[in-house]
Symmetry: C2
Subunit: 472 residues, 2 copies
């Protein structure tokens, strides 16, 4: 066997970091492989922790995959011996049949690169409903400005990849942030520009903070092109109020920036209200890229990698007769199309069963049970923080995460050390605050409030004991 | 309303081209929207042209999506009134149940970034079977070197994105080529280095052609890092023989290049034999990235975006204690994981129903019918070429495409003009040879041999008439 080859590669890819799947989860995987039980709270992956899927969604998808079942299920409904509980609802059959008719080429064919028009129309109608925009209001969402994607990550990466043309192209991101953004900026070779929401005011945003960050970046030669906002926040769970959103839009308009609004947790709000950027933007001519996903909310369909990107006021491309949307479409075309099941899941997410239809009551019960359980679990964990010395957690509960601040860690140790020790001792897999970047001199961790209540009831006392011993 | 924003963007994304979804298919979409019937032969998308999915695959996936059906289907099997044709086979239920047990977290959870181990093991076993490597043979495929992906495109993009660090980093691609490669190289800002298989010898490859291309690139300061080979060829349909494959490996070893082997058409071979690069590579220490997909073959499950990337001899990263596979894993992690249904489809692709099991006969019949129909349709089209003045088509039939050479186009017209006129006149949507790059001074088109036979029987005479009038 000859010598091993050695190659120089893209330094951006080597330097890129992604803590949500970094050293701590990797150590958890080793422990699991060695037979230890671990509790994966490092990532918002509810079904991995036992959250059941919404039945209606899965019944429809199951039919889409095997269309021959449509006739079969109708025959079974007419067969006397079949138990009523084993019959598939007529309404479910009709929904699946209607989707297949509009999909035309089924689940096994490439679709349009941005997804079939009927799904984009349903997304647009959902956005208008969500933002309470009636036919009189303008502007309505435009199906031609909507791109279906493999999860929200793909949409974010498309936009950043197009925007960033060189090392001086800057993108503002909140600190702390979801590391997709720092990783994607690094990968594209751009400049990360931090801004700092106010932790003690529940991570509120103020214009002067944005201006200071912009000025600092400009002074070092960075040309800021976009600002990323995550609402509800990840990792913080913070929910932006109208004043914060207005400040961001004013700021973006003043400096000619586009806004990338990561709104994937729009259905995970417990206290406070979700207000979309599109709704506040109204007719103002600021470029907006809004992301949503089937992975979060009460559905938690992470594995299906569904999502969409909605564009408003796409900028023109300097020096070309092209709009940003033309380039986006070209980028999406090279990947051919997002996966069809994720597309179908996106359709179902935005087109609920008709109120009063036969699956309706069960759908509502399942949805409400998931959301109630999430809040209950977040509350259990917050209460445990009250018994841990030096732990504080600010703001209302949103998204799927708590991001407590840790004070009094032993000299010379970091939140990374803390999280690693917590994993070794309790099996609880969290992510150190430094993995999301954080204000200098502070320590945090992020925990997804997803484990079953019984499991939390068992592990939280052990965490409290670990903590108070660790901080000494 | 204010003035429209204008931004400078990444010039690589603006310059990137992708003819398979370029102006001709866009014009076809306009014609469709205006009520004209068009025949989409611009892309290998069999189910869009009526090819039925393999029943076994879909029955299993349908159960995976709605696991509650496992118990239900068993109850139905024990219910007297249900018609035998409406029962789901016990074997199918067992396969789905076994997959869910090994998947552990179902279809709705993120999986490991490279896919669950049991699927990677099944892929490795498939590769060893395909390459006739028994337990005595070395090296066997390694499940840890296999990454499941959203289609093969994602795998190709991951590898190129890591490899290309600057404008002098070169990647050799065959001319003509599948435009994913030229687009991905452009997107990463690297240097495209063309090499020219010998059309009249059925697109065979020879070492001196590769050396000439390498020398030319080196002379202009390009550092060649990789060579892409597409086998069976796209757009050419060519099938590489052992001598050509050996030449590529010798060449790559001599210059320290890695090989990217796009082998997505490995089940689409009509005449000749598919020989994998892994098999010929054996123990030679050349880095190999081999791509496969659920989109092609007899399954044609394009919409599900399943596929895998297999790595052999991953190079070390210059200046770091990292292997190429470490960086790949990081890149895959940022996208979290490929879609689970595509993963399941990949598993089914590599793990056929057991010979003699109850679904076996139907599986074989469906598989063989698809492959036979594809060859029959390719033959019909090739015969039509015989009646078109100046049209020649070289080599055996492979992949899903024919790539005839057109001579005698009217002065001042190109193959793009020809394909556009063909679309307007007959509704047949093909792609001009220039969309794949082609030897200077030649003209071609690519047609996917996918339309139903009746449709071909109707449109081919009209094409012949159009052609002979067009070339005059």
């Amino acid at each position: 066997m000859g010598a091993r080859m050695c190659v120089a590669v893209n330094p951006n890819l080597v330097a890129m970091e992604y803590a949500v799947r970094g050293p701590i989860p990797m150590r958890a995987a080793e422990l699991e492989a060695a037979g230890r039980r671990t509790i994966p709270c490092n990532i918002g992956n509810p079904q991995a922790l036992g959250q059941a899927p919404i039945s209606f969604y899965r019944q429809v998808i199951s039919l889409l995959e095997d269309p021959g079942r449509l006739g079969r299920e109708r025959r079974l409904r007419a067969t006397s011996g079949v138990a009523p509980g084993d019959l598939v609802d007529e309404y479910v059959l009709d929904v699946a049949e209607g989707m297949l008719a509009r999909m035309r080429t089924g689940m096994g064919a490439y679709t349009e690169s941005k997804g079939p028009r009927f799904i984009r129309e349903a997304v647009a109608a959902y956005i208008d409903r969500r933002d309470a925009l009636g036919p009189g209001a303008v502007p309505l969402a435009d199906p031609e400005m909507i791109f279906l994607t493999n999860g929200a990550s793909e949409g974010a990466m498309f936009v950043l990849e197009i925007l960033i043309g060189g090392p001086d192209d800057g993108v503002m991101i909140p600190i702390p942030q979801y590391p997709l953004y720092s990783a994607a900026i690094r990968r594209c070779g751009g400049a990360q520009v931090d801004y700092h929401p106010d932790e003690e005011r529940g991570w509120a945003l103020e214009r002067h903070v944005l201006e200071a960050s912009y000025a600092e970046a400009s002074a070092r030669g960075v040309k800021v092109k976009a600002i990323v906002v995550i609402n509800p926040g990840n990792p913080t769970g913070a929910i932006l109020d109208l004043a914060s959103i207005t400040d961001v839009i004013d700021f973006a308009e003043a400096h000619g920036l586009v806004i990338i609004a990561d709104e994937v947790y729009q259905h995970n709000v417990y206290g406070g209200e979700f207000i979309s950027f599109a709704r506040v933007l109204a007719e103002r001519p600021v470029g907006l890229f809004s992301l949503h996903s089937t992975s979060k909310g009460f559905y938690g369909e992470c594995g299906h990698r569904g999502g969409y990107l909605e564009v408003r006021n796409p900028p023109q491309i300097e020096g070309h007769e092209l709009s940003f949307v033309d380039v986006l479409l070209k980028r999406a075309s090279v990947s051919l199309c997002p996966n069809t099941v994720g597309q179908a899941m996106t359709y179902l997410m935005v087109a609920e069963p008709r109120e009063g239809s036969s699956p309706w009551a069960r759908f509502v019960a399942e949805r409400d049970a998931v959301l109630a359980a999430l809040f209950e679990k977040a509350t259990m964990i917050r209460e445990a923080f009250g018994q841990m010395r030096g732990v504080e957690c600010f703001g209302p509960v949103g998204a799927m995460y708590l991001f407590p601040r840790l004070s009094g860690l032993p000299e010379g140790t970091t939140d990374f050390d803390y999280c690693m020790a917590l994993l070794e001792e309790t099996g609880l897999c969290t992510v150190n605050g430094s993995g999301f970047h954080q204000a200098p001199g502070t320590s945090h961790l992020r925990i997804a409030f997803l484990p079953p209540k019984e499991l939390l009831a068992e592990v939280l006392p052990r965490w409290i004991a670990f903590h108070n011993r660790y901080v000494g």
